[in-house]
Subunit: 340 residues, 2 copies
Amino acid sequence: MTVGLGRSQRAGIRQVADRAGVSVSSVSRVLTSHPDVSARMRKRVLEAVEQLGYEPDWLAQSMRRGATLTVGFVVGDISNPLFAQIALGAEVSLQREGYSMLLANSQNQPVLDARHIRLFQQRRVDGLLLSLASENHTETLEALAGLETPIVLIDRDLPPAVAASAVLSDHQSGMRAAAASLIELGHRRIGMITGSIDLRPSREREAALRAVCAEHPEVGAVVRPGSFTAAHGAAATAELLDGADPPTALVAGGNQILIGVLRELRARGLSVPSDISLVSCDEVPLSELYDPPIATIVRDPFRIGQRAAELLLGRLRGDQPHHAVLPSMFAPGRSCGPPR
Amino acid sequence: MTVGLGRSQRAGIRQVADRAGVSVSSVSRVLTSHPDVSARMRKRVLEAVEQLGYEPDWLAQSMRRGATLTVGFVVGDISNPLFAQIALGAEVSLQREGYSMLLANSQNQPVLDARHIRLFQQRRVDGLLLSLASENHTETLEALAGLETPIVLIDRDLPPAVAASAVLSDHQSGMRAAAASLIELGHRRIGMITGSIDLRPSREREAALRAVCAEHPEVGAVVRPGSFTAAHGAAATAELLDGADPPTALVAGGNQILIGVLRELRARGLSVPSDISLVSCDEVPLSELYDPPIATIVRDPFRIGQRAAELLLGRLRGDQPHHAVLPSMFAPGRSCGPPR
DNA sequence: GCAGATTCTGGGAACGTTTCCGGAAACGTC
DNA sequence: GACGTTTCCGGAAACGTTCCCAGAATCTGC
């Protein structure tokens, strides 16, 4: 361990060179393990490095090499456990390959999406992981249009003009299984509360539900898109239950929406599944430990993050943009029963 | 909007200067809003900037200025909602002041803490936000010892040798209130399951519980430290319940521990609070929506993150290191009742 | 119309690396 | 011992900014 006694400034490659009595370029060669370097030289340089506690300056390296070993992650809200797990999966994978991750919360405001994309571009990130707040914000699309840095979208559809990789969840298969299960139980009117319609997950789930209903003419679906928030979950639940011909089963399209739904059901003193059946999307501790355990359309968010990182690393190695599809599955639970 | 038609390379300040027919330094002055610049000059430069779609290179700027406008956040596991909320609070506050946040998960391995600290230092971050996996890891302390960059610890106690700011939760007041409430209900034997003993939250909570018990000689406490995981929560619950003189009330020292506790209680068919009373730490949706709602020692994680960012920004402006203490409060819930 | 102050501008040295290039030294071959 | 290779090393030009410094231009007061 080197104690920083006399030196007030941190040592540069220059100091190392002086100390070792060699040229700056030789030090650089040793440290980048260039082949043209003698054993004696290597030894001297490494000694000087050790003595001075030298560590190369990342800024200078990045500037010179043109790569920052940094990727930016733009996410609506990291405090949402779904995104937190995705972020974890991605960060751990990137970290293993020497990359660091810059995190920016857009607080679900498309305008911040765009701003952060530009900021990261200026910061010279080598790649971008995007979980956008909206797929249709022009400013965001403009910011993306001119980009030469590799992009990986997380469960988003963008016009093919932006040449991006993507890791997509196959929401439809899970949703179809869930709907089929409800219909099997006897439900004829299914309510679905979901987030913004210009976000892929909402669209896919709705499409799947409608497709299943189309196969069963006796079944009707009523969909309430809005936002992925507890407030919307509660409000939409109230609307559906107070409406004419209220559904006998409810699908909550996200962990925050689920919270709102449960709050509203509790406020009304309704019990699951005897009064109403319930299906949620994306597993959280609450789903498992609620009584009864909540039937859930599950996927593996950690794996999504991993896969996104892999796609990005691939592109950084020169691969072409690629779309990866990850499965979703219906995990039945006692929150579903026959309609009353 | 500037379309990148002919230019394959992104424009540098040099190109802007040529285009505007002025010197490089003048362009720099305009863009850094230096006072010594005429209106005509500003106009010409800004036009050129607009035409070329020029954006300053952050690497070069950082290198020259000696500041990166970046802070590093080392956290055990961002997928834990507590830390995710802290991260959100911090990132939003930092973002507002123009700082970006590098995120690194240490996966609760002290050795990764140390590695990330060194990595961030090399990356020239302007400051560090640390939620360490251990307070006693020598490698980490060594890495911290020589640091000149401002540090803010999040709910951690480190030897005063490291001159760090810290935002600390006052766990004790909440814990004392919870214990008092349990005793008031008639409990005489209180079990507590918590994380690693060389982490401040565990120590503080245990100290508070023991202090309260000391005031009530008829009450005994049995504490099971371990790790902040569901696995430990379940195992410790089983141990306590199978032991001699099992507790009639349980305190779960974290949201993951709570999950384990609830799993074990469910597996045993025990119901809350008639068979056993339950208190948890740090609010999660599960606490609110569980039936019965779980009494919880709450704090405001978003605020913790905000405060950490404020402390760091303060230090970056030249303030001295400072300790901030944030409250915790006991929020009673129907998960507590008289012992059977 | 001139001295001195003020406003503005350009040149160029830094920041800390990497890497190209040319040359010196060592080596083997005839 | 001349010569071509190979191995190793140092010099110096980049990378894209900021900022000090000196000098030019304009202004002010008389």
